[in-house]
């Protein structure tokens, strides 16, 4: 690793950023593929079925078979669609979830060096959380444009529903995390983790924030019980009715990528990120394997949330659309405001 020390700072930044991006994407893609698999197996388990178990040992090669299938199927573009947006929409649903992960710290340091390059986060932004919200708010475009481009009634209704739903819950989501930043005083996600090491995980201090964020996360990722944009019983399958083959698969992958991104945000904000409050695992690693262990802890926590997402999907029925809007605007929004005011009052009383 001697050549590391001969690089200029900008070369170093470039090389290690590329390595980290490759690492994250390399981890993310298999995670998405196997979340689909986990979804199918867990749903089967909940419903007393067997699930896909034929391809490879325990059906572990199923994601590969699925991938090959979607790539080889005929990519049919209906005649009545708006071509440009029709091609753009699947990409726009996938990209934001990847961008969000750029600012999430997924580990401490790889090794004893305390340089920027050994820090396990792609972009250590001072406005980390605002960046994530900005990008998450862009993820609605993929769905809206898919609905608009498909030029069919069901897709269109799905797109419209998605717009209203995501805008509504984005507000609750944003307001839910404000108390966290009143407590920590920083917007940088790495420093939020540092605060949690010192004062305990934020879930214990802001349980209401966490519940608001969790429910809003379900609405933002269009998962049951809030999957109104694609509710099969009413809208065929909503905004991706007209899509086939790999374009359809991209919507599918986009949903899981969004789940992973939101899980990573929740882990970072409420559950101490890569830290564990036992065996001194909450201090930055000083060895290479310590660094790897931190990454494993982070991934483990994300996986717990993924299982929660999947579990809830198969346990709860779908909301009605007016119930969804009612919950968002007349329950969550006031609750989030009350939470902010109570936190502010508590802080004021403490520092007076």
């Amino acid at each position: 690793m001697d050549w590391v020390y001969y690089l200029t700072p900008s070369q170093e930044f470039l090389v290690f950023s590329i390595v980290k991006v490759a690492l994250v994407v390399g981890l993310l893609l298999p995670m998405i593929a196997y979340s689909v698999m986990a979804e199918r197996r867990i749903s089967a388990w909940i419903q007393g079925r067997v699930g896909p178990n034929r391809v490879g040992p325990f059906g572990l090669l199923q994601p590969i078979a699925d991938g090959i299938k979607s790539l080889l199927k005929e990519d049919f573009v209906p005649d009545h669609v708006r071509k440009c947006y029709f091609w753009l929409a699947p990409a726009l649903t996938l990209i934001p979830s990847f961008l969000v992960l750029a600012v999430v710290p997924f580990g401490s340091y790889l090794g004893p060096e305390r340089e920027a390059w050994s820090k396990m986060v792609i972009a250590d932004l001072n406005i980390g959380i605002l960046f994530t919200f900005g990008i998450v708010s862009l993820s609605v475009y993929g769905i809206v444009l898919a609905g608009y481009a498909s030029n069919s009634k069901y897709s269109f209704l799905g797109g419209i529903r998605a717009t209203a739903q995501m805008i509504s819950y984005e507000i609750s989501m944003g307001l839910a995390v404000i108390p966290l930043f009143m407590l920590t005083g920083v917007l940088n996600l790495g420093e939020v983790i540092a605060y949690q090491v010192e004062h305990g995980w934020l879930i214990w201090k802001q349980p209401i924030s966490f519940i608001l964020f969790l429910v809003a996360a379900f609405a933002e990722t269009n998962r049951l019980p809030f999957d109104l944009p694609e509710s099969e019983t009413e809208l065929v399958s909503g905004y991706h009715t007209e899509y086939s083959s790999m374009k359809f698969a991209l919507f599918f992958l986009g949903e899981y990528a969004a789940m992973i991104a939101v899980s990573a945000m929740m882990v970072t904000l409420f559950f101490g990120g890569w830290t564990l409050p036992i065996f001194g695992l909450d201090q930055p690693a000083i060895t290479f394997f310590g660094g790897l262990l931190h990454i494993m802890i982070f991934l483990g926590k994300v996986l717990v949330f993924m299982v929660l997402f999947i579990w809830i999907r198969w346990m709860l029925p779908r909301f009605r659309y007016d119930q969804l809007m009612d919950l968002g605007w007349t329950r969550f929004l006031p609750l989030a405001f009350v939470n902010i005011i109570v936190t502010a009052a508590w802080l004021w009383a403490q520092y007076r």
């Binding site: 001072n126 406005i127 605002l130 960046f131 919200f133 708010s137 862009l138 809206v144 717009t163 984005e170």
Partner: protein, 167 residues
């Protein structure tokens, strides 16, 4: 490099802004709205060049993430047909030019009197979110509150107008 990026984002902002109005590809208002999104994203690139990261993030979060999504929502709900090519004639042209001229006068006046370009502004704009918040709630509290009240008035007005029965 800095200069190059500045011109890159500035040119992109202007081109996309121009395309919002002209929209030569289709007459669909949805396309105009999408160009507006691109224009705003390029503009937040300009904020990043000024190290105003907070403003850049807020720009994307509020404008491209919420406001234009609502534009799209309204455009789609109103089910606009492909907009007919509008013609600039007579009274419409007069008022368009008048308003544009007025706005340009104010804009040029502000730019000329603000002393921009006398010294590099890049470093003075640098600051954390905390500094911005402190400024907003100390030095500029009155304009800030007036703006909030204005927004509130707008909101109440919309709620009132959207009630079906005004009596």
């Amino acid at each position: 490099m800095q200069d190059l990026l500045f011109y890159f984002f500035a040119v992109l902002t202007l081109i996309f802004g121009f395309l919002v109005v002209v929209n030569p590809f289709t007459r669909s208002p949805v396309t105009s709205a999408m160009f507006l999104v691109l224009s705003i994203i390029s503009m937040s690139g300009l904020f990043v060049m000024l190290h105003a990261f907070f403003l850049a993030a807020i720009q994307i979060l509020v404008y491209s993430g919420a406001v234009i999504v609502l534009f799209l929502f309204v455009i789609m709900l109103m089910d606009l047909k492909e907009e007919a090519r509008s013609t600039f004639q007579g009274i419409r042209l007069t008022f368009s030019l008048l308003l544009a001229g007025l706005f340009a006068t104010v804009l040029i006046g502000v730019v000329l009197t603000s002393g921009l370009g006398a010294e590099p502004v890049v470093l003075t704009l640098e600051g954390s979110t905390a500094v911005l918040g402190e400024r907003l709630f100390n030095a500029y509290i009155i304009p800030f509150e007036i703006l909030s009240v204005l927004l509130l008035v707008g909101m109440v007005g919309v709620v009132l107008l959207s009630k079906k029965n005004l009596n």
